[in-house]
């Protein structure tokens, strides 16, 4: 089992329910292939530094997950097929990164110091 990070950009013009449908289908693809989502972040709509598919804005998502390598091929296939996915990148995380580093930080208690996001290295899977 490995830790992976997936970032993808969605078409910002699609409706909320369509986006919801897409993310739930992605989640089920992950769980069907024995993957486990550690964190699922919606980073909101950001402007792209260059136009992609005639769009200058995109909705960014960031997922951290744990799972076997065979799961990645399925996720990649899914992301490639869906037209509303503008771009995606899948990164296998370094061996020294642990699950605890990736889990969402708990907001209520005042944490001593917010940790810097773990640096991500190693091979890139897909583009």
């Amino acid at each position: 089992m490995n830790l992976y990070e997936i970032m993808f950009i969605l078409n910002p013009d699609i409706g909320e329910d369509e986006r919801e449908k897409l993310t739930s289908r992605l989640k089920s693809t992950i769980s069907k292939n024995k993957g486990e989502i550690i964190r699922f972040d919606d980073m909101g709509i950001k402007s792209l530094t260059y136009k992609i598919k005639k769009k200058s804005r995109g909705q960014y998502f960031l997922i951290y997950l744990d799972g076997p390598g065979s799961m990645i091929a399925e996720i990649e296939r899914f992301l490639r097929i869906d037209e509303n996915v503008i771009r995606f990148v899948i990164v296998k995380l370094d061996k020294h990164v642990t699950r605890q580093d990736l889990e969402p930080k708990v907001e209520p208690q005042p944490e001593p110091t917010p940790q810097a996001s773990p640096s991500t290295e190693q091979g890139e899977v897909g583009a």
Partner: protein, 86 residues
């Protein structure tokens, strides 16, 4: 970042004085090299979006390699530009 040696008087045989550049990632261990942090990567590209060479930024070879990979990843995700044209 681009430290130019101070001008020498003509005819002087003294070597120009360079301020020694150091790798920012070795100095500051917590500074992440991450495609998700484009504000850091921006210090290592030109205004036109090209990756700055090590001799300009002083980055060590170990970190420069990682930096180049993350810059390329950030370009794919449209976080930093491939090129900037007028």
């Amino acid at each position: 970042m681009q430290d130019r040696p101070p001008r020498q008087q003509s005819g002087s045989k003294q070597k120009p004085y360079y301020k020694r550049k150091t790798c920012r990632f070795c100095e500051e261990k917590t500074l992440p090299i991450d495609y998700k942090a484009p504000h850091i990567l921006k210090d290592f590209i030109t205004e036109r979006g090209k990756i700055l060479p090590r001799r300009i930024t002083g980055t060590c070879s170990y970190h420069q390699k990682k930096l180049a990979a993350e810059i390329k990843r950030a370009r794919i995700m449209a976080l930093i530009p491939f090129t900037v044209h007028d």
